[in-house]
């Protein structure tokens, strides 16, 4: 199938036509071929890549499946997502990662890259068969115990060393378990008033500092998941100045929300790592804009209603984010003038694709690139409505939030999987 | 709105009531006055003053009836007013309840219940400045300053100088 996106604006601001033939962009310029699709007023961006998604399958299909998660991803403008390993059973063997990979292929709405667990059962004690997962059909390159921290320094060192043999990366969930026993929210003024057990910034920063030094020592690749603190940003900034091979991510919710929201005791704001203070939010925004933080990742964490419709301490940690990520990033980073559109492309597409070694993702919108594209309207006001989401779960903290930019079409391998904000029912076979 | 009773009329009415209390009780040895807050309490004090002028010191107290009202649920909760036991208590005494306006009788019913919490008087009598009729319970006053026929669409407003700056009783449209 051949078609032309006419009158579309690139991230650099120029207006042009983009011709797609099959799975590839064949031309960017004045040429028009095949069906003409009027895209005036829309921006075309490389499809977004999420390096941190919980798709819950296998094991918790009541909250999300690979298919429903892929639908949510497509609606959010993502053409690739990385499925975290904390499923049941844990994705710590070639068998489980291949199952997730296959489910992603069957869904056909975006690429689904399974992330392998670092340790068996996420227990932090024994390395999982990282090589087997790397060699499997899923070609796993990103490994993480996310949800749990690889807290044992020796285990972490070995994991960092071991993945060098196949160009892997360890994505660390930085949380010292001893300093966060029973922790419920950011430790500070708000937690002192609310009587909720505090989650100190140092519990995150101490692990980041340690792992940066370990990565330097063994000359491996470290990726730090969901950075939330000002101190963490400083540590990553320092490590980059030293030339250490560290990348870092931030979530949309940590760029917008602060811990005073917990005053409602509404568990929709309960998330790991926790919402921090305004000073942290400002530092994260600066870090994302200046290149200290490499990527935005959603940490999309679906939970069934009953896990949030309860008292705070009994509730599950996590928020969904695939369908709101783009709008929130525009609100926090573009509208505030903190970041340019080309930088948005880097943090939402180019960089995560590089970190994950996702070869068909994150390419520039130029002739010859795979046709994985997101078309967005940068100026179209809308209000987040959890009832209209495609995710199986409703635990968004942004319900009712006014946003000004939205995803209109998502093209995955040349196929319009989302057209005019609606899933088309088409998929890439 | 013209005043039904002005200051002098109120004085006269209270003096008459005071004399009737003496007459009825053949002396004042066992009489105590219990005013129902807010305005009944001031009226009780005034009667005690008059009796003092006539040479008799009568113990005065106040009786808050809030907790015994049967119309609590018709209005937002109200703070309790003070209940002050008269010196010597009420046990075996002739208690004269004093209130400003006698209307449905429900306040007095509540007052009788509240009195039961405090003790067992020998007799209970009732003095009111105005009886406006429309009784809903079998209750009558022993001492009445002024009988004032009213319609249900009207309301009787009593003002006393202790809190309202002037002494005055008037009929106003019901709220």
């Amino acid at each position: 199938m051949t078609y032309t996106l006419t009158g579309v604006t690139l991230a650099d601001g120029t207006t042009t036509n983009v011709v797609v033939e099959g799975q590839t962009i064949s031309s960017v310029g004045s040429l028009t071929v095949g069906e003409l699709i009027d895209c005036s007023g829309l921006m075309v961006l490389p499809g977004f890549v999420d390096l941190h998604t919980h798709l819950r399958e296998p094991g918790s299909e009541d909250s999300e499946t690979v298919l429903t998660g892929a639908k949510a991803a497509a609606k959010g403008g993502f053409t690739a997502v990385s499925a975290m390993a904390n499923t049941s059973p844990v994705a710590d063997t070639a068998g489980v990662v291949e199952q997730v990979f296959r489910l992603g292929k069957e869904a056909g709405l975006c690429e689904v890259f399974p992330i392998g667990a670092v340790t068996v059962g996420l227990a932090g004690e024994q390395l999982a068969e990282l090589g087997a997962m790397a060699d499997s059909a899923a070609q796993v390159r990103v490994f993480s115990d996310d949800g749990k921290c690889v807290s044992d320094p020796l285990v972490m060192r070995r994991a960092l060393e071991y993945v060098k043999s196949f160009g892997g990366v360890i994505a660390q969930h930085a949380q010292d378990p001893r300093l966060t026993q029973a922790s419920q929210m950011n430790e500070g003024e708000v937690s002192s008033r609310l009587g909720l057990a505090g989650w100190p910034a140092v519990a995150e920063e101490a692990i980041i500092a340690r792992d940066i030094l370990l990565a330097d020592h063994v000359k491996s690749r470290l990726h730090i998941c969901h950075l939330t603190t000002k101190g963490g940003v400083e540590l990553v900034r320092w490590s980059k100045s030293q030339g250490i091979n560290v990348t870092a991510e931030v979530t949309p919710h940590h760029l917008l929300l602060t811990d005073d929201l917990v005053e409602s005791y509404d568990p929709v704001y309960k998330v790991n790592p926790p919402l921090r203070t305004d000073a942290d939010v400002q530092a994260l925004r600066i870090g994302l804009a200046d290149g200290t933080i490499d990527i935005v990742a959603t940490d999309h964490a679906p939970h069934p209603t009953e896990d949030k419709e309860c008292e705070w301490s009994a509730a599950a940690f996590g928020m969904i984010g695939l369908e709101t990520a783009f709008g929130v990033i525009v609100k926090t980073m573009i509208e505030t003038g903190a970041m340019s559109w080309p930088r948005l492309v880097e943090v939402m597409s180019t960089n995560p694709a590089k970190i994950g070694r996702y070869s068909r993702q994150g390419g520039a919108v130029t002739a010859g690139s795979p046709a994985n594209l997101t078309l967005v309207n940068p100026k179209s006001a809308w209000q987040v409505d959890r009832e209209k989401m495609s995710s199986k779960s409703k635990n968004t903290p942004f319900h009712g939030t006014a946003l000004t930019a939205k995803v209109i079409h998502t093209i995955y391998e040349g196929v319009f999987v989302v057209k005019n904000e609606t899933l088309t029912g088409l998929k890439h076979e | 709105m013209s005043a039904i009773l002005e200051s002098a009329d109120i004085d006269r009415a209270l003096k008459r009531i005071s004399h009737e209390i003496i007459e009825r009780n053949q002396g004042l040895d066992s009489v105590v006055l219990l005013g129902i807050p807010t305005r009944g309490a001031y009226l009780a004090s005034r009667i005690a003053q008059i009796l003092m002028g006539l040479g008799s010191k009568v113990p005065v107290g106040t009786l808050d009836i809030t907790m015994h009202r049967d119309d609590l649920r018709l209005r937002p909760p109200r703070p309790l007013l003070e209940t002050l036991m008269p010196t010597g208590g009420i046990e075996g005494k002739d208690v004269v309840l004093v209130d400003d306006v006698l209307f449905s009788g429900r306040t007095i019913r509540a007052a009788l219940d509240a009195l039961g919490e405090l003790g067992r008087p020998r007799t209970v009598q009732l003095a009111v400045l105005v009886d406006r009729g429309h009784r809903e319970l079998p209750i009558r006053a022993d001492y009445v300053g002024k009988n004032l026929p009213t319609s249900a669409k009207e309301s009787v407003r009593v003002q006393l100088s202790e809190i309202d700056e002037i002494d005055c009783v008037e009929i106003v449209p019901a709220p």
Binding site: S191, R193, G195, E311 | M67, R73, P76, R78, L80, G119
Partner: protein, 316 residues
């Protein structure tokens, strides 16, 4: 006054004064021959206790019964209640029963607010202690106890110096008392080892000290908090003996207190740990009075929250 009592923050200063004066009147009435008032006849009060607290439950139960309310005790502890969804199920059950008020004690901070905000139930929610957050009626009874001991102040606590000593970090009593006593004008000093003070305490309207002895003779009120022995396992303090020596109210310290100073404790006490037996039983101690005052204060709260028309009745 709001139609709920989840936190001292729900109360204005006038609300507090109204509760204290109502409690004083109710205490006077119930000193008479009949202890029972008809005020809440036909109202249903549910004591919903997810945590054991016999004294708080009995206090609320007595208060409600003296006002002629129907009382249902619902102990959710020991049943299959372990996940939060049960809070919702329980709430909906109570809604179906027709509870007018739910007095809730729960181990999770914010549980009372959750119950009130969730829309699961229309009843008036009264917080009888939520996790390590607040215990507003305890603070009200403490303020009532103080105001009775210092009657000349007429509930104006300005200039009154209050020390709260012990495990501030985990104390709902401390949080509610800080809010309430400072609202009434008192100067509050928190005294604890640094491990038992919350990070962020510097934002509270209080003074903080690590030393019990330093200003001990200055305080009009010394409120001792219960120390839980399991805290030792998390290294909050090295040993009972050391805690007791540094932060316990023993006889020597009792003697150094101001002539008019009083000793309080929300109970239950660990005699010999945070408070010596002699201190607990001394003439300065108002600990027994606190218990009796609890009933009057809880009657006042129940009356003011339930005694009048409810919001739905007003709108009718």
């Amino acid at each position: 006054m709001k139609n709920q009592l989840l936190s001292i923050n729900d109360l204005s200063k006038d609300d507090v004064l109204s509760i204290l004066s109502t409690a004083a009147e109710l205490e006077r009435i119930t000193e008479g021959p009949t202890k029972k008032l008809p005020t809440l006849r036909g109202r249903t009060v549910v004591n919903l206790f997810f945590e054991d607290s016999t004294r708080t439950r009995i206090s609320f139960e007595t208060a409600a019964k003296r006002l002629s309310a129907d009382v249902i005790n619902f102990s959710a502890k020991g049943s299959s209640v372990s996940k939060g969804e049960s809070l919702k199920d329980t709430a909906q059950t109570l809604q179906a029963i027709g509870a007018d008020a739910v007095v809730i004690r729960h181990g999770s901070s914010g549980a009372a607010q959750r119950l009130s905000d969730s829309g699961w139930i229309n009843a008036t929610v009264i917080n009888a202690g939520d996790g390590t957050h607040e215990h507003p009626t305890q603070a009200l009874l403490d303020a009532f106890t103080i105001s009775k001991r210092f009657p000349e102040r007429k509930s104006d606590f300005s200039g009154l110096k209050v020390a709260i000593v012990g495990d501030i970090l985990h104390s709902r009593v401390a949080r509610s008392n800080v809010l309430l006593l400072t609202k009434l004008g008192a100067s509050v000093t928190l005294i604890a080892p640094p491990t038992l003070l919350p990070v962020g305490v510097e934002s509270w309207p209080v003074l903080v000290s690590y030393d019990l002895d330093e200003e001990l003779p200055e305080f009009d009120v010394v409120m001792m908090l219960r120390i839980q022995l399991e805290r030792m396992q998390n290294f909050y303090f090295p040993s009972e003996r050391e805690y007791s020596r540094r932060y316990g109210l023993n006889e020597d310290r009792l003697l150094r207190m101001k002539q008019s100073g009083i000793v309080m404790h929300p109970g239950p006490m660990n005699r010999g740990l945070e408070i010596s037996a002699a201190s607990a039983d001394s003439s300065r101690s108002v600990i027994v009075n606190q218990v009796g005052n609890g009933v009057s204060v809880r009657m006042a709260v129940l009356y003011l929250l339930l005694g009048g028309a409810s919001l739905s009745e007003v709108s009718q």
